[in-house]
């Protein structure tokens, strides 16, 4: 484990485990629209495609990908709403 920066405070967690592609991304987009700029959202996803798709979407949509961590049977993706 490498220590980089401190993990930012999570504003909201979206538990999309058990949802299939593109469900987790759909849930994230809905949550981002409801969030304020600067909010940090955490997405739990057990869908393999979302691990690739969500970071690409975050870049395209102009938000900030903070981290992608693989946990026990799912991924946790942290994103900061930038605009």
């Amino acid at each position: 484990m490498t220590e980089t920066s401190a993990t930012p405070a999570i504003t909201r967690t979206i538990d999309a485990r058990g949802s299939f592609c593109p469900g987790p991304l759909m849930e994230l987009i809905r949550a981002i629209r409801e969030a304020q700029v600067g909010d940090v959202l955490s997405v739990y996803s057990s869908d393999k495609g979302s691990k690739v798709d969500i970071p690409k979407w975050i870049e395209k949509a102009g938000h900030r990908l903070i981290s992608v961590e693989t946990r026990d049977g799912y991924d946790e993706i942290l994103v900061e709403k930038m605009r």
Binding site: G18, C21, G23, L25, M26, I29, R30, W57, K60
Partner: protein, 137 residues
């Protein structure tokens, strides 16, 4: 503004409709305008009284394919209609029924699920598509 993605849905089986719904949702997630044009058996599947029914699978699915599809559904996969509703919530998705297919099936717009925004002819579809790609499913 991104180029539009334009899907012509002809097949009315659940596997092809699900593939189309996922394509629609992905494009909508990227902010691309999506125009969906419903013809023949795809249009029939959008009838308000049939949309939640089992619409079968393409012939190549076979019994093994049926098993895979049923397993994913049992694990909680959203139906194609639900995926399309989510895509429409994101915005930029317009679903139109082909007027010729409406006549073929003897349908009025009131017979269709609210997912369908209207009825148009193929010329309007091409004009809305502009220079965007057209995909036939």
């Amino acid at each position: 503004m991104d180029e539009s993605i334009n899907l012509v849905l002809f097949s009315g089986t659940d596997d092809k409709l699900n593939a189309a719904a996922v394509m629609t949702a992905g494009a909508a997630a990227l902010g691309k305008p999506v125009n969906v044009f419903l013809q023949y058996w795809a249009l029939d599947a959008f009838r308000a009284d049939r949309i939640d029914r089992d619409h079968g699978l393409a012939a190549e699915a076979g019994a093994e394919g049926r098993g895979h599809v049923d397993a994913l559904r049992a694990a909680g996969q959203a139906s194609w209609a639900e995926t399309l509703r989510q895509a429409k919530e994101l915005g930029g998705v317009d679903i139109q029924a082909c007027s010729l297919s409406m006549d073929l099936l003897g349908l009025e717009q009131a017979d269709l699920d609210p997912l369908v925004d209207g009825v148009e002819g193929v010329t309007a579809f091409y004009l809305n598509a502009g220079t965007g790609q057209i995909v036939f499913i």
